[in-house]
Symmetry: C2
Subunit: 390 residues, 2 copies
């Protein structure tokens, strides 16, 4: 848990002028718009890959499925973690090789499995026998990764209890897979999202060590360990550089799994979050009463129109306004729907300049991940978030 | 709180064969589909209007903005509560008269206010002075309803603290509105959503009485009381018929506001929820381990693809399968994304037949409200919920 264990102080990723920010500064927008810089995506990939060394990156494309982002990562040599037929079609249309795709969803539709198999994908995740049976029927003989549940309360967004099997059930699932004619190829896990401190990977990896050994002892010649994602983005709290962070994680992996032939990782957020910013506008500023301790700032974007990750307030986007540097005060933010579900940061208000007024621009920084695909469709309120990739 | 106070036992709305259910039974669907019956929408409207008597219904169209639903309600003579420019355009395109529209969003974009005014809308809600200033500039001289916060812990989904002003601030806001040249036309409030017991309206209405009197004493000739929505739909727990429920509410309104010239209500859920059902399919059934007390049932629809109201588990849809009548056991439901956010009813599992298997159909009943417009756009996983209005 102690960052100094790495012998180096942790430094914040600076909020420097970047291409997306420069584009935003130079343009007018008549609706909420995410501007993503391909250069920054490429830079993040390069840094992360350099730190990860021999581990192969399979981009968790649900973080940002913009076609131009996929294209950029294909050109850099990335692999992909796909979750549906649509993901596969998108990757193929941008030139990705099916050999670089892992079907990571543990709740796959049978028709999607068949589609993936026909497209040439040969690596599938599973966490229960029903899933293995589906794979065996619709993608006979492919390689499977059994997904294991791990605990990681230190992640900003801890891993779900929903996807993955209990460690003690892995050997039996491996046996079932082999009996079904599948290749028991390895293990995967997800240590949560936004694991800010690389030291928090140690106890997670420690949970996998006995599982790996149990599987090998049960006679399965497993080759691949998928360490999942969880690589952090900068939202105001200091994190290490992607390279240093990934190198720390890989050192911890090698210390435990040096003899594992293949390591793969599925970062999403770390590749795209800092590459994009959302331009929004203040719709209303009001104090509900003279005694209110904070203002209510209504924006033209909210929880249901792209900022779903404000849920639980784990992700707190850095906000930039033209009034920065002047006196600030606490605000509750609200989206444009007049619905309770669209209120953001009610538990811990954000600080914004006192001079902020209706019509002012608010830039929601580092919002390139989990925003494009989390705005509600067919909303009667607002069109989906606009996306510009430069 | 005691339903017997009405002198009549409460009876459950029966799950009878309806047109949407019949259509579903007779057709095959290759993706999650909401089937809505116009007849049932019309029937709900008729019943509710009959109970509401002189109160005018303004449909909260965010509950289901399907164009055919709007058209049906226009033909029945309903008014509309609109929340955005898109709502207004949709209503106008289906023949609604701008005189029947109330702009109920308290966080309106200035350009939407101007659009509404140009379209002929003359009734606007507001809950703070900034909103009043915007209205005065972009819709000069219109009628305004000041929205008041109320408490109603008894609603299945209690009212948000976010939209509405404190009761003590209403007279000052009315003064500001008058000074800005607006017509101080009335009050509005929202007692929450899914208020199952009509008796739970009494304490809410009691909160409004002193506000109404204070406003009149301050010299404002208010004419209209908007009692909002909260009229319930049947999700398995017994509710009264729409007519009986609405008549109870109106009796309580008249007992307190007999001298108020105009009453209006903005039901949404009560008009459309029971008119629609979603056809879904089982993608995976598994027990995470032998010791698991319940099964995990993966569906091809989840929290982020239409079932956002499963949040907090307040709304528990009745589920119908072809195995009904056989032995059941507890299940956690999951949508098709392998994301923690897509898990439903984890706190209180639902009971489903033990024979339920992959490929089986699950009908999610009474899902006509807040489903069409709560599926995420641009999801890499799944296309938005399909909608068929018959």
């Amino acid at each position: 848990m102690n960052a100094t264990a790495f012998g180096a102080p942790r430094v914040a990723t600076p909020i420097f002028a970047d291409r997306a920010a420069a584009y935003i500064a130079a343009h007018a927008f008549d609706r909420p718009t995410l501007v993503v810089s391909r250069d920054r995506v490429a830079m993040q990939y390069e840094q992360l890959q350099s730190g990860l060394g021999r581990a192969a990156i399979h981009y968790a494309m649900r973080a940002n499925p913009a076609p131009e982002v996929i294209e950029t990562l294909v050109s850099m040599g990335a692999g992909f973690e796909v979750m549906s037929r649509r993901d596969i079609e998108l990757c193929l249309s941008r030139g990705a090789d099916p050999d670089t795709m892992c079907f990571g969803n543990t709740l796959k539709c049978a028709s999607d499995i068949a589609f993936a198999y026909a497209a040439g994908i040969r690596l599938f995740a599973a966490d229960c026998s029903d899933e293995l049976h589906k794979i065996a029927v619709h993608a006979p003989g492919v390689r499977v990764l059994v997904q294991v549940l791990v605990e990681n309360p230190m992640a900003d967004m801890p891993p779900s209890r929903s996807f993955g099997c209990r460690p003690s059930d892995v050997p039996e699932l491996m046996d079932i897979a082999r009996d079904l004619g599948l290749v028991t190829y390895g293990l995967s896990f997800l240590g949560g999202s936004q694991i800010r401190d690389s030291a928090d990977w140690y106890p997670v990896l420690d949970q996998i060590v006995p599982v790996w050994h149990a599987v090998r002892e049960a006679g399965h010649d497993v080759q691949l360990l998928n360490i999942g994602g969880g690589f952090p983005a900068f939202y105001g709290k200091s994190i290490r550089s992607p390279r240093a962070y990934a190198a720390d994680v890989m050192a911890a992996v090698e210390a435990r799994f040096a003899d594992v032939a293949q390591i793969m990782a599925t970062p999403g957020r770390a590749l795209v979050a800092e590459a994009g910013h959302i331009v929004a506008e203040v719709v209303t500023v009001c104090r509900k009463s003279e005694n209110d301790l904070h203002r209510w700032v209504g924006l033209n974007i909210g929880h249901s129109s792209g900022l779903a990750e404000t849920d639980g307030e784990a992700i707190r986007y850095p906000l930039v306004t033209d009034h920065d540097g002047t006196d600030t005060g606490p605000c509750v933010l609200s989206g444009p729907t007049s619905e309770a579900s669209d209120v953001m940061y009610q538990k811990r208000p954000v600080k914004l300049p006192l001079g902020l007024a209706r019509g002012d621009r608010v830039v929601i920084r580092n919002a390139g991940a989990y925003t494009v695909n989390t705005s509600w469709a067919g909303s009667d309120f607002i069109p989906p978030l606009d996306v510009i990739v430069i």
